[in-house]
Symmetry: D3
Subunit: 172 residues, 6 copies
């Protein structure tokens, strides 16, 4: 049995992420999805709370028929890079290989002696958190870019409205 780790912030979880999970599950029996910067929310770069992100991922995974093969864990920042990879290893069930395209993530796990593999990401310009949040802010279409199950949750918590409020810049 091989278990993979897939690290991201998932602001929000989109079709590219789902595609990557399917790719990973071709090579490994199980995947842990680690939701980074879990303490962040209500900010232009970090719109959703970790609870909302976990719920979006969980429902998307069920919708895709992958329930039972995927575990989700939240990872708070520790602002202490030299301990970050080990910190993630303590917060997660054990895993055998890390999937990531982030050079920092790859460097930190390699220094811990772990195997790291690149992710094949499709349509990187559209399936991209920054792009999706920009579409929300502009009131343009974004629902076709994330799984239907995640759309339902984003609508329920009024993601578009929240994005507009947290991007307005008038400070007290």
């Amino acid at each position: 049995m091989t278990r993979a780790l897939f690290v991201g912030r998932f602001q929000p979880f989109h079709n590219g992420h789902l595609q990557a999970v399917k790719e990973i599950l071709r090579d490994c029996q199980e995947a842990v999805i680690a939701v980074g910067s879990s303490q962040e929310s209500h900010a232009p770069e970090n719109l959703f709370t970790v609870g909302e992100r976990i719920e979006m991922i969980y429902e998307s995974i069920k919708e895709a028929g992958l329930a039972g093969k995927v575990l989700i864990v939240g990872i708070p920042d520790i602002k202490y890079n030299a301990l970050w990879a080990k910190h993630l290893m303590v917060l997660s069930p054990s895993f055998d290989v890390v999937y990531s395209n982030s050079p920092l993530v790859k460097q930190l796990f390699r220094e811990e002696g772990l195997k790291v593999r690149p992710l094949k990401m499709v349509k990187r310009k559209e399936y991209d958190g920054t792009h999706i949040r920009a579409q929300m802010l502009a009131g343009k279409s974004w629902k076709q870019l994330i799984p239907a199950a995640a759309v339902k949750i984003a609508v329920k918590i009024k993601a578009e409205e929240r994005m507009k409020e947290v991007c307005a810049c008038d400070k007290a």
Copy 2:
């Protein structure tokens, strides 16, 4: 659809906890298991890391045929009781009802306006974390008290040996 929250430290997850999950899933479609004091480990009262605890719960849930109905989240202590219930609500997918026998947990969630229900726990003297860790320390039988899938993990990480080391009291 109703989602329940079940809070504990799960040091370790035992047959009584599994029984309680089954009970909860009779009333609700889904359960979130919140693993408290997630930063603690390697101590007499808190033997396992949160990653180990999540893995034990996850495998026990799969073994019991409940995969896809249960989500697991780690909850670090914040040493700030007045914010604890809200903190848990941010770290978890949304839920409708809280199951707990802890008066403090019940009080904190009630002050947040949430519904709280008691847990029916069976064989409370045997199915009890403190008792199970004491059996490990004494080198007595404990494997029949936790799910077989959890036993496998506890054995792999040498839980008995760790319990004996962290209970030895010679300080530097």
Copy 3:
């Protein structure tokens, strides 16, 4: 103009504290009341939130006709004794003298080069936080021990009920 500092946890603010404030205001024009362990609440030793404690003190001070002579500040613990006195000095308006009966508080301020004076406390057995909380827990009389304005707030937030819940010991 002389401004005094008066440090305590005020769980809750009682008649002895009010007496001490009056005493201090005989020697000094103004007093800063520093509410320590401000992050604590919902615990047997620390029942009230800092907001609740500030509100009780503020209303008691107004009731006693001392408004405009007393400032209240919350002080979170920093678990770093060597910085604690300085930390308090940063969180508070400047002051000239410290009133306290705590040997540790006195030692820490003396090491910072500040003047420290003892407090004259009356009826120390009755006008005592631990005693008052024990009376709440036992359902015995406590309302005569704290200012009327503070009683009103304690009743509104159901202090007795909270004390009973947080002292119950059944853990999850």
Copy 4:
């Protein structure tokens, strides 16, 4: 009785803030002034310590004849937006309505179910913290922009000199 909350960083408390407090006290009997980012000081954007800011506000309030109607509390950042509004509610006496022009502050309190009202600010270009600190840095006039009682404190702690030092950029 209605109590209002007024949130800001008050770097420093200026005539526009004082005007706003008077405005608020036309609608409400009492106001809590919440001094945000309380841990910050000695930086170009955050010049004064929270103790200094509280002292400036307190003296300005007394000077304006409003003592006894205004309470001041310091609020440390928690870098955890989803808990920030609740955190403020724990640190402050209870309040009925929030006055703010910050979209983020308004969004966070609205998600907690609180009433939020806009602030009428006068002369927004002059009565502005950033502008006042820039005047200090340039050695230009700023004393007419903040209450006389606050000027006295700013002069005593040598605000101009501190502003110049913390804006100099030579790093070790």
Copy 5:
């Protein structure tokens, strides 16, 4: 070249510790002394600040003619056992072997894959931090139990007086 790690709290550094350092330097060319619980001070169990402890160790090491063979680092607690050994490895120059008699320290380093050796401690009842602080509290002799260079510093900071103050128990 072999570098050893020697972990303790050194409250205070005594003759037994010095003896142990000499012992270690028979097997290894260099030693790192890691001063744990560095944030603690002014408490019955943790009397000295980390700066005071480093100064006592440094002067004792010079007095013993070992300067240039010993490095001293402070280690703040992280209240996160699973990361503690790695945390220490990040804060210290690299080392090849750990000397400790603490079962927890030994267990945590062994789980990181490090070599651990026991310390030979002499006169364990007298050369013992708890005993030495108890002697200070009682006003009995303690100066013969720690190196002369450390005595000088302890006297300068009035260790006896501080011990008596922080052990007095009258709370505010």
Copy 6:
């Protein structure tokens, strides 16, 4: 006996720093080197862990024949400027004078009542951390800019490779 404090981040310790230490030791008998932002590493501005930085400084100091005159301490950021100078004073052996060219550091120590002196730095464009890291990133020569003993350690930990990885910008 006079002991000096020399504060920096030392990313990495270079010939200009070593020159400054020698300069300081002409006026003072001993120097404490305080390594700031100790929790940072693996970032473009903060490449090395504090353990690595201490090791580089320690070996360079030995190489320069100054062992026994220099002590090294790590200083974690506290993000609380008003306490920073005092925090450093707690983490370090006592000192008599501070050497720094940072206006903020100088301002904070002056407010604590300490004597501050400027550093004479030579070849400031070349002997400069930012410049040295840029050379590493570009694969250009940097070894002549830092002490030979520090080069050896930087090579062992593959500093160039790490710099390139942490500067690559592809985020997960």
